[in-house]
């Protein structure tokens, strides 16, 4: 393993640890405020299980791993393909979230200021969604470079770091899903 890669490895792990700590506090706040809203709708009044989005997002962990492995084996086109599928799955997930929020905000009039449920729901789900967006941007860059021929097997380690980030984002979704859509309802 080259020196540069091991540095990068330590760096990405450190970054993920810090991000975990950040999400943990929003999760704790959500858990703490379950049932404490003084007025307004509660989770079971409003939330529907985002099954399709969750399946897509969790499968995208598989596809991104396949893409990363393909690149390590030197198969750039295949890697680009798998990463592209990952992006599509991620976009489906985000579309689901967007539709959910549109329903909540526009149709139900349920906002961050409505009550404690709103206060803790939007930032937690939103923080996760913003991390998905960031991941999609990075994956898009990988796909573009795969297409242009700039991406090579020697970059496999870096794409692996992107895939680690993506796994992290999926892991966070497992927690958010459990806390918001299962425990909280």
């Amino acid at each position: 393993m080259s020196r540069t890669a091991s540095r990068g490895r330590a760096g990405v792990i450190g970054f993920i640890v810090a991000e975990t700590s950040l999400f943990a506090v929003f999760v704790v706040a959500y858990l703490f405020y379950i049932g404490k809203s003084l007025t307004g709708p509660s989770p079971k009044d409003l939330l529907e299980l985002p099954i399709l989005g969750t399946i897509c997002l969790l499968s995208s962990s598989v596809t991104v791993a396949l893409g990363s492995r393909a690149l390590a084996a030197g198969r750039v086109a295949r890697a680009g393909g798998w990463l592209f599928v990952t992006i599509v799955l991620g976009v489906v997930f985000l579309t689901g979230t967007a539709q959910e929020w549109r329903r909540l905000i526009v149709e139900q009039g349920f906002t961050i200021g409505t009550n404690l449920f709103g206060t803790t729901f939007y930032p937690l789900v939103g923080l996760h969604a913003s991390h998905v967006i960031l991941g999609l941007v990075m994956l898009s860059l990988c796909v573009i470079f795969a297409g242009s021929g700039a991406l090579k097997a020697v970059h496999a380690e870096r794409v692996e770091f992107v895939s680690w980030y993506w796994h992290f984002v999926d892991g966070v979704w497992v927690v958010v899903f459990t806390v918001v859509y299962v425990v909280g309802r």
Partner: protein, 564 residues
């Protein structure tokens, strides 16, 4: 003892040689602004920290003048409240963090035989965002408009308790300046912590195992790991406060059922380990300096490392000892009392190891050791008053009183700042190639010791007599007046001490005796290169077979390795 591996000619500004196309001040400035060199960034961090030390000190001076006697009106109430808010915020985020991470920046690669930090550009980012955050905070004097007039800095205290920090009780933007500047500086600190962890784990020179690293490097590894865990919770809480203040969220809005207590939990989950992040590197400095000036190896290296790591771990579980008076109930009060007392054990053990190092040595009372000696006594007091405060009922009386203020100033001033001065005197020769004046150093030391203790020993007593903190004046009939006057009298001595230090630096940069590679006859790797080091740090490294590579070079008949 000069190194035989590289040239011994001292050049204070060798690194600042201008590029051939340009020359002069502009070129030098340009080089410093675009630098990604850990040594330059380290210097910039420390200089920034010292500038804010002076600013924070002026804030303290104004407060002490106002409190010197009951009923004074030197400073109106709203200004006083801004002064203590800015003083605390400045000293923690703009003095403590920059100096701690600045020294780490400079020293860690040299101590482990590396060329730079793992991510040099990220390093530069960390510095500039800190500077930006500091500028943003102080811009609040002009920009943060409040309800009663234009231009005001935040006045919510450095820990910004909710719901006072909510828009309902603090309109205007002063609070937002505090929030955003600290948030932004936090990102820089996390970046630097990641950088240090990556560097220490992957860039050690051959032979430099974890068990051979200087104790100082262990302290930086520990506090960097802590930083990753504790700074994001602060950022999260600050984002929540932003959402409350700007988007109508109710995280800490008690009128809507929100909790004032969870702000305290989130803040102190960060805030308590944070003071260990500040202090533990100070322990690292002492662990490097005491052996050199005792001419003895550190006593109990393994114990010190174990103590460092356990302090880091246990400190993460003590935060709610700041909340003994909020009504958490007996179970939680007892738990946090226990964890707080527990963290005192490894801390105390360290003191014993340092004393064990000096015992049997041949002490050289140069300025770095003087500051370490004062530190030992002062930190002992700080730790013991901390144990007292860990007894929750004792804290029920003295939380938020001047006893508490005295305690934490003993930790962070009598402890941390004294070790920072020790470190400045110790490593200044390495950084600049010149020695600081011993004579001025002694004046600096004695004035600071007398001034510090006059102020902060005395400060315990108004607390014991019932004086709460954060008050801009006090009644004349409580018996606090003479004590407050004595407290204030210590301040000019401290100010003079700092002034003498600055004079010492300016004078020595030009006229200081040339230092050579290893003026203190020390044994760790940073002394195996020139003073200052070349841009690439080491032309050649000595063989690393123990914790003291240069001792092994000087004592080939009795190297450290077999003893370790």
């Amino acid at each position: 003892m000069s190194s035989t591996f590289v040239s011994t000619e001292p050049t204070a500004v060798r690194d600042a040689a201008p590029t051939p196309e340009r020359s002069g001040t502009l070129a030098i400035l340009h080089d410093w602004v675009v630098t990604v060199d850990h040594k330059r960034l380290g210097i910039m961090y420390v200089v920034t920290g010292l500038v804010f030390l002076v600013i924070g000190g002026v804030e303290a001076l104004l407060m002490r003048l106002q409190l010197a006697w009951p009923g004074l009106t030197l400073v109106p109430p709203d200004t006083f409240n801004r002064l203590f808010t800015l003083h605390g915020t400045t000293m923690v985020f703009l003095l403590g963090i920059p100096v701690v991470f600045g020294f780490a920046n400079y020293l860690v690669p040299l101590m482990i035989g590396a060329r730079d930090l793992a991510f040099p550009r990220l390093n530069a980012f960390g510095f500039w965002i800190l500077l930006f955050g500091g500028a943003l905070l102080y811009f609040s004097f002009i920009g943060g408009d409040g309800l009663y007039g234009a231009g005001s800095a935040p006045a919510i205290g450095w820990f910004a308790y909710a719901p006072l920090s909510e828009r309902a009780f603090t309109p205007g933007n002063a609070t937002d300046y505090w929030n955003l500047s600290v948030l932004v500086m936090g990102f820089g600190t996390v970046a630097t912590a990641i950088n240090l962890i990556a560097t220490i784990s992957t860039m050690r020179a051959p032979g430099m195992t974890l068990g051979r690293m200087p104790i100082y490097v262990w302290t930086m590894l520990t506090v960097s790991a802590m930083t990753l865990l504790i700074l994001p919770p602060l950022s999260a809480a600050q984002i929540m406060l932003l959402l409350d203040r700007f988007l109508g969220a109710h995280y800490f809005d008690t009128q809507a059922g929100g909790s004032a207590i969870i702000w305290q939990h989130f803040f102190w989950f960060f805030g308590h380990p944070e003071v260990y992040v500040l202090m533990v590197p100070g322990f690292g400095f002492v662990s490097e300096i005491i052996p050199v000036f005792s001419r003895k190896v550190i006593f109990g290296y393994a114990t010190l490392v174990a103590a460092t790591v356990s302090i880091g771990a246990v400190a993460m579980s003590t935060w709610a000892h700041h909340m003994f008076t909020v009504g958490m109930g007996g179970t939680l009060d007892s738990f946090f009392a226990a964890s707080t007392m527990l963290v005192g054990v490894p801390t105390g053990v360290k003191i014993f190891n340092w004393l064990g190092t000096m015992y049997g040595g041949k002490l050289r009372f140069r300025t770095p050791l003087l500051f370490c000696c004062a530190f030992l006594f002062q930190f002992l007091c700080a730790g013991l008053t901390g144990i007292m405060l860990a007894v929750a009922p004792f804290d029920w009386q003295l939380q938020d009183s001047y006893f508490l203020v005295a305690h934490f100033h003993f930790v962070l001033f009598g402890g941390l700042i004294f070790t920072i001065f020790a470190a400045l005197y110790y490593w200044f020769p390495k950084v600049t190639g010149r020695m600081l004046s011993e004579r001025l150093g002694r004046w600096n030391f004695w004035l600071l010791v007398v001034g510090f203790n006059l102020t902060f020993v005395t400060m315990h007593f108004p607390g014991l007599l019932g004086m709460p903190r954060r008050i801009y004046t006090y009644p004349a009939d409580r018996g606090w007046d003479i004590l407050n006057l004595v407290i204030t009298l210590g301040v000019p001595l401290q100010a003079l001490a700092v002034l003498i230090f600055l004079v010492n630096v300016v004078y020595s940069l030009r006229r200081g005796a040339p230092a050579g590679d290893n003026p203190w006859e020390a044994w760790t790797l940073e002394w195996a290169t020139t003073s200052p080091p070349p841009a690439y740090n080491f032309a050649a490294l000595p063989p690393i077979n123990s914790r003291r590579p240069l001792w092994d070079v000087q004592h080939p008949d009795d190297p450290d390795g077999p003893h370790e």
